[in-house]
Subunit: 178 residues, 2 copies
């Protein structure tokens, strides 16, 4: 039986940081450098955190976000040897449900609807691995937690860290060889 991997969306396959910076500039005319996001919660990096947060609720925010480099190719490659589940805490932002669904259909059309999970608390998910950028998910997962680097988590010292999809592939292909 194949081992299973749960893969988060935002900051793992979806480049929500760049998306947020782009939307903030478009809406409020100020472009912050990506470095400002380092080591802080994302909305706190913007001149007006409440305004930044309000963008999450706007129609289209999730639908047209760019992809993290190499994500689609890597997920497709992993699918050859693992059961892949895309697991997003989309329930916090109900407007994101259909947008995230449509995003996946466009960018990862090889992921069946059977392998998509939109939830809240990920503790209820049982897979052999979880690739995620948040400790609130990784700390409680039932399988092996893998921390995907995002600006906000650069100072985290827990869990095995991967900095790119290249590193995910190297690690999980290595796992198969063991």
């Amino acid at each position: 039986m194949k081992k299973s991997i749960a893969i988060d969306m935002d900051n793992v396959i979806v480049d929500i940081e760049t998306n947020w910076i782009n939307w903030y500039e478009k809406e409020f005319g100020v472009r912050i450098p990506k470095e400002d996001l380092l080591g802080v919660p994302e909305d706190d990096a913007f001149p007006n955190p409440a305004a930044a947060r309000s963008l999450i609720y706007k129609t289209g925010f999730f639908r047209h976000a760019p992809m993290i480099e190499g994500a689609a190719e890597a997920v497709r490659k992993l699918q050859e040897n693992y059961d892949i589940f895309i697991v997003s805490a989309a329930m916090e932002f109900p407007n994101s449900l259909i947008e995230k669904h449509d995003w996946l259909n466009e960018h990862l059309p090889f992921i069946s609807w059977k392998n998509i999970v939109f939830c809240g608390d990920k503790r209820v998910i049982d897979t052999d691995y979880l690739i995620d950028d948040h400790l609130k998910n990784l700390d409680f997962c039932k399988g092996m937690p893998i921390l995907f680097t995002a600006s906000h988590n650069i100072n985290v010292t827990k869990h095995t860290r991967v900095n790119s999809w290249e590193e995910v592939l190297a690690m999980l292909t290595g796992e198969l060889a063991n």
Copy 2:
């Protein structure tokens, strides 16, 4: 730590049978008696199964479905002693995502977004119990499967069966006493 229960929506807390009969009558002018649904897949019970199936994709089909008798009160009661997760295979019908979310907010407002899961294959869900009407979910669940009676499953002889929310409460209150 509280034990956890995953609860399906359609045919468990949502009376999708009555809803389907009502919509078929409204759209096609023919009202089938509920008895016609006994022991057959739901769409097969209608004079035109393809037409019946097409209703699932219509806007509003899931949003205004009635509730199964006693569901809200029973779920609220169970919440006192169990971690409750509403787990629906909503991903098969993307139009249902926001409608099911809004339905839950209206009828079960005491369920946090953290405890709602919209998925495809429920095998990835790990709870102590699963209350569901379909073998495709119950046969592979990690916890104890509980078959909630629906017209289509009356001939199923596997798993512990409950016929109503009253029976669910009696059973799971009994479990706590053990």
